[in-house]
Symmetry: D2
Subunit: 170 residues, 4 copies
């Protein structure tokens, strides 16, 4: 099963060529990944400033606590990206399709296809980008990888699908 | 009348202090401004890459064509920002309240108040930031300021309110 | 006395108009400010990853420990920026001139003029931007402002000059 | 032969974990690539604003005209990155070592190793990141790939070396 994560561009993602910059693409994938994986639980906390922090994930995958000071940090070990069609400025959110290509002991491979906005005529839809991120779960205190828990494995298993194959890899 | 523009943070807006970075704040105001002012007309264009560009504004203010190659560029002449409370990581969109403090011949002053997400208990809502941007409409061909048109003035007049006063200015 | 801080653009500071984006300008001022104020002391530390951290300031102003986990955080309370001439892509570093407009108990006002690169024919030099940042020194543990120390005051006093006056302010 | 490109971090490259963000890494590689490939010729041009644009490459590779409106655009078709050790905040520039892994008809593969700053004790130097970018030269007018010219091939041939091998690839 894939998760569809609508993800909005910002004007500042564009470079002087008028296209989404290659590095900005990784920021967009990061936003989609956070939306997919970070905690479904609505938690509210007072900060020292008196401001209120709310977290709320929207997918069944969203079982990681992504607060900056949470016990687990998601560290990126590897990324591979194919930029197939350059992305113009779009007001409607990109349709980022996300799934898990591989669940290992302490790491997972997140696969993405970045499509033009949903709602566009299906025949006209464009696949802009394909990417894979290898994510390692790290214990924030020890700085060492930690094993994927049973609860995480249960939440993520439905999203395991065939990994992406890249056409331009040598 | 003020316009409420829900505007989402990105993880990359935070700096190592775990707060929204001061420069990222301007990116958020930029997104709110674009959402407010750029074209309501849904336009679809083929790009040379075959990708489809759609524009769709959601407010009655949205009468500017914001495409990178449009006839008018919105140039920023001046900004003033007060950072009242530092902003933690929030998944729910900030409530950016936007209005026009002054409509001149070829320029306007956009005022903002950046509040914690709507939906939070009203008593707990926090005013994070106050800002003003002076925007000049520039003819993209000549590079010279151009006058605000009658249609623009009509669209924007309902949003003219008392300008912001800054408490920390000297 | 002013400090000249050569500060390089990045390609990603430009937006689709081909100019330095208004928010990127604040990132450039941030880099100049860090270069000016953060520790002259060369310190070396092992990180948990085995990587080595070195800090080395180059100005007599550089007496703040700017490490992410240092005892003091420099928090920005206010900024005011006038964008006089839009900045094209430049390979040579901008000449950011920086001084202190006001030294108060727990805060200071940093003033900047952003000029085209040094080495250009003097007559052809362009003043791109003028800005002021109000900086508050905050104790990282308590989150409360802390007083400027005598050593900091001594280091900074030579750089106190007449504050900037803005021409476009209302 | 490899080219050593000293490349400075910015404070805003760090994320709340206190490390260089994965997407920021690509901005750093972009800066190194521009430094390596973009025009050695010092050109000066008046912009419509009266500002002066100067370009000056520092390597023998630097034969591409990288101005936003130049005849050729360098488009990125593919990237692969291994993040080996997370990068803390560093004031001294990273040592980005850059070479060409493959020169094809209209494209090239740029290889990078990102090392801790030069000048550190050699034994203590750390390899942070390994990456490959596939670059396609595109004619800005037609939007079609164009062949690498004889002059470009001559300039780049000395930097052709064994391509990177990735250890974590599956």
């Amino acid at each position: 099963m894939r998760l569809n994560v609508p993800t909005r561009l910002r004007w500042s993602d564009l470079d002087p060529y008028g296209h989404v910059n290659n590095a900005s693409m990784l920021r967009l994938l990061e936003e989609a990944r956070i939306e997919a994986f970070w905690s479904t639980e609505a938690t509210t906390r007072e900060t020292p400033d008196g401001a209120v922090t709310t977290y709320r994930g929207n997918s069944a995958m969203a079982v990681l606590d992504g607060r900056p000071d949470a016990g687990t940090q998601s560290i990126i070990a590897r990324q591979e990206i194919e930029y197939l069609v350059s992305i113009p400025y779009l007001r409607d959110p990109l349709d980022i399709q996300l799934w898990i290509g591989r669940l290992a002991g302490a790491s997972l491979e997140v696969c993405y296809e970045v499509w033009s906005p949903l709602g566009t005529d299906a025949a006209a839809r464009v696949l802009f980008t394909r990417a894979v991120t290898t994510l390692v779960l790290v214990d924030a205190t020890s700085g060492r990888p930690r094993r994927i828990s049973a609860a995480e494995r249960d939440a993520w298993a439905p999203y395991v699908e065939q990994p992406l194959t890249f056409s331009r890899r040598r």
